[in-house]
């Protein structure tokens, strides 16, 4: 099913690891040069920056070509006519993506990724225009209109399996969110159906993943499993899975009356149960992505607990959260460092990969620029004469609207 040969992908992975190890001084330059010769893959790949701009210009080219076709050849087309041509474009884009991989051997090159993404977009837009004239999510949707997000989800899943693009799996998860809205008007049922979809996906992924150890496919499944855990959490956390998220978090709680009481309080219990389960799974599997999601959902539970219970927020809540996070990090670090050789239970706080340092260096420069603007929330209206916050001019929060 997968377009790429497993040995080619594994060779590329080995090549990256070699570069990392050589950078960390675990291999001599002589060893690195020799082993590099043994990890030559026929796949054509590139660096992240060129990949991004190749993606961008492919999307521009494909989008403009489709629009040009409609302008030149269809002066006053019917909606169905547009839809059929969009479906044809979807087929063409998908075929081009397949050719780009099978003939040009492109691998995470931007071009084949953009073509695959465009094919999903054209498919959904084409189906909507060709078969369903009613606007999406109108009060009276067509009974079969759910087929549009369903087709989007299935096709995205296919692209994920075929090409291995993790964001195609994410797209499938997003499409799945829209499905229950066509089947039931009950918000509780919608949340449950979405969580059920993700749970089924999680069981399937966990079963397949157990057959892989220490290969590149395991890395792919690791990310997908993490996304599914996050999806389940977001589906059951009623304070987060809402469009007016900001207002709910800072302005007040989501009314418990919007949902049946047993359902509402069951989800509250679940948002406390899920983080330790995810963290335990991540730690047991030594899975970086799942551990990260476990930490994220734990923080989200702390952030949304008060709105859940209908308790008022305090201005010092973020500071308490900050102290807790810092304290946990400091405690774990010290606990690990005091183990024999700085290792406890197979975990260490020491840096073992050069990539970690690169990530920190790059992110510290970027975050240092953007954080001053985001750390100071707008002042509350109750204290009109004491007015500072915003830091709009970027100088470490010492901004202009004091």
């Amino acid at each position: 099913m997968r377009l790429y040969d497993a040995s080619s992908e594994e060779t590329l992975r080995a090549r990256k690891l070699l570069a990392d190890w050589a950078g960390e001084g675990m291999l001599t330059q002589q060893q690195y040069r020799r082993l590099e010769q043994e990890t030559v893959s026929e796949l054509r790949t590139t660096n992240i920056f060129l990949r991004l701009i190749l993606f961008l210009f492919t999307v521009i080219g494909v989008g403009a070509a489709a629009a040009l076709f409609f302008v030149v050849f269809l002066s006053s087309p019917s909606e169905q006519g547009i839809g059929i041509f969009l479906l044809i474009f979807a087929v063409l884009c998908y075929a081009a993506a397949e050719v780009a991989v099978s003939q040009a051997r492109l691998y995470r090159y931007g071009i084949e990724e953009a073509l695959a993404v465009c094919s999903v977009a054209f498919l959904c837009a084409g189906m909507q225009a060709a078969f369903f004239r009613v606007a999406p999510y109108s009060p009276k949707p067509n009974g079969f209109q759910f087929l549009v997000p369903a087709a989007g989800a299935v096709f995205s899943l296919w692209i994920w399996r075929r090409f291995g693009f993790w964001y195609a799996f994410l797209a499938a998860m997003v499409f799945a969110v829209f499905l229950p809205g066509y089947w039931t008007s009950s918000h509780s049922a919608q949340h449950m159906i979405v969580a059920l979809f993700y749970a089924i996906g999680l069981i399937a992924v966990a079963a397949v993943r157990s057959r892989h150890h220490f290969d590149c496919v395991e890395d792919d499944y690791s990310l997908v499993e993490a996304l599914l855990w996050l999806g389940i959490y977001l589906a059951i956390n009623l304070q987060l899975s809402s469009l007016d998220l900001g207002a709910r978090l800072w302005g007040g709680s989501r009314a418990a009356s919007e949902f049946a009481r047993p359902f509402y309080w069951t989800t509250w219990v679940l948002i406390w149960v899920l983080p330790p389960v995810v963290l335990a799974r991540g730690v047991r599997q030594k899975d970086r992505f799942v551990i990260a999601v476990g930490a994220i959902v734990a923080v989200l539970t702390l952030v949304t607990n008060k709105p859940y219970l209908g308790w008022p927020r305090h201005t010092w809540d973020p500071a308490l959260l900050g102290i807790l996070l810092t304290g946990v990090a400091w405690f774990i670090r010290r606990w690990l460092a005091r183990g024999p050789g700085g290792i406890r239970g197979g975990f260490t706080a020491a840096r073992l990969s050069g990539k970690d340092k690169q990530w920190l260096n790059a992110s510290s420069a970027v975050l240092g620029l953007v954080t001053p603007q985001s750390i100071t929330p707008s002042p509350q209206a109750t204290n009109a004469d004491v007015h500072f916050g915003g830091g709009a001019s970027g100088g470490g929060g010492a901004g202009g609207d004091f």
């Binding site: 397949v208 810092t326 954080t371 001053p372 204290n383 929060g397």
Partner: protein
């Protein structure tokens, strides 16, 4: 069964990294000690939580400062100036005492932080400095609302801290404070128009760029040079693009944009820093497109332009990727 599910059954060449390491050890390409070390790394034994703990520390500092700032802004009248200033000053004093007492001797070269906490304590101190300064001016109007002086002083102070403690977080704060000073200074001018901002942005680029080059040439923390260059490149391209978008007198800006794109491309290719290739491609494309399709109303010509130029860009970028950009 799927190809990816059982690769070893379908492809005899398939070797996991562990099998490869074993093969290299048998060949004598790596020593048994190296094999043992690298194989255990691949198996996640030990598994490093370095990145996760750093992210947790960063998020913790950020959340703490956000809460502190919000609390001070909301409750300062009830708490009273003395208490607020005492708390902020105490945090500030503890942070800087910690940093100055534990910092290694200053060196021109890159100096590792003495502990994982060190960088975050410094970052916390820097952010609390901003809150305290803002509070002082807001309550006592020490400089009669002359915020530009605060920003300049803060930028200077942050540059000192960044170079003393070798910290990129604080260097970025210094550069953004300096940019804020330039921006705020213009806002006091009688007529501050786009052209004034543009000239100031160029002056900022010149100042920061020259400063970065000078420090790098002198070997003073040369690893900071990348941060300078990335910030200068982005500010410069935005400034030049804003000139290109002008209705009149845009040719000089367009010419400058082309020169900057050429320089960025050359730098990116020769130094293998492909972010600069991306800057040249994206900013250059936006600038050239805005000139070429300006005033065009025919949809066919505009769309044809985008099809043609996107394909041309793809061909050029693929050639660049083939010759220069293969490695990750």
């Amino acid at each position: 069964m799927l190809a990816t599910d059982m690769p070893s059954q379908q492809n005899e060449d398939f070797m996991t990294i562990l099998a490869r390491l074993e093969h290299w050890r048998e060949q004598g390409a790596i020593s048994p000690e190296q094999h043992s070390h690298l194989a255990s790394l691949c198996r996640g034994e030990p598994f490093s939580l370095f990145l996760e703990l750093n992210v947790l520390l960063y998020a913790g500092v950020l959340a703490f400062v956000a809460g502190l700032g919000w609390t001070v802004a909301t409750w300062s009248q009830q708490l009273g100036d003395v208490l607020v200033l005492a708390i902020l000053s105490a945090i500030l004093a503890v942070c800087f005492w910690y940093c100055f007492s534990r910092a290694p001797a200053w060196s021109l070269a890159q100096t590792p932080a003495p502990s994982v906490l060190f960088d975050y304590v410094l970052y916390l101190g820097s952010l609390v400095w901003c809150i305290e300064l803002a509070y002082l001016e807001n309550r006592f109007h020490v400089l009669s609302g002359q915020w530009d002086f605060y920003l300049l002083a803060t930028a200077v102070f942050f540059f000192f801290l960044a170079y003393r403690f070798d910290n990129r977080f604080v260097l970025s704060l210094a550069l953004s404070s300096l940019a804020g000073w330039f921006g705020l200074t213009i806002s006091h001018w009688p007529s501050h128009q786009d052209s004034a901002y543009r000239q100031c942005a160029l002056l900022y680029c010149l100042l920061v760029g020259l400063g970065g080059v000078l420090l790098e040439k002198r070997g003073v923390k040369p690893h900071f040079f990348g941060t300078y260059l990335n910030i200068v490149a982005n500010v410069l391209f935005w400034a030049l693009l804003s000139g290109v978008f002008n209705r009149q007198g845009y040719w000089v800006w367009f010419l400058a944009l082309l020169l900057a794109c050429g320089a960025s491309l050359a730098w990116g290719l020769t130094r293998r820093q492909f972010a600069f290739v991306a800057y040249a491609a994206v900013y250059g494309y936006v600038g050239v497109s805005s000139i070429l399709i300006r005033g065009m109303t025919d949809a066919i010509i505009v769309l044809g332009y985008f099809v043609f130029t996107a394909v041309a860009m793809l061909v050029a970028l693929v050639q660049i990727a083939r010759h220069f950009g293969r490695q990750e």
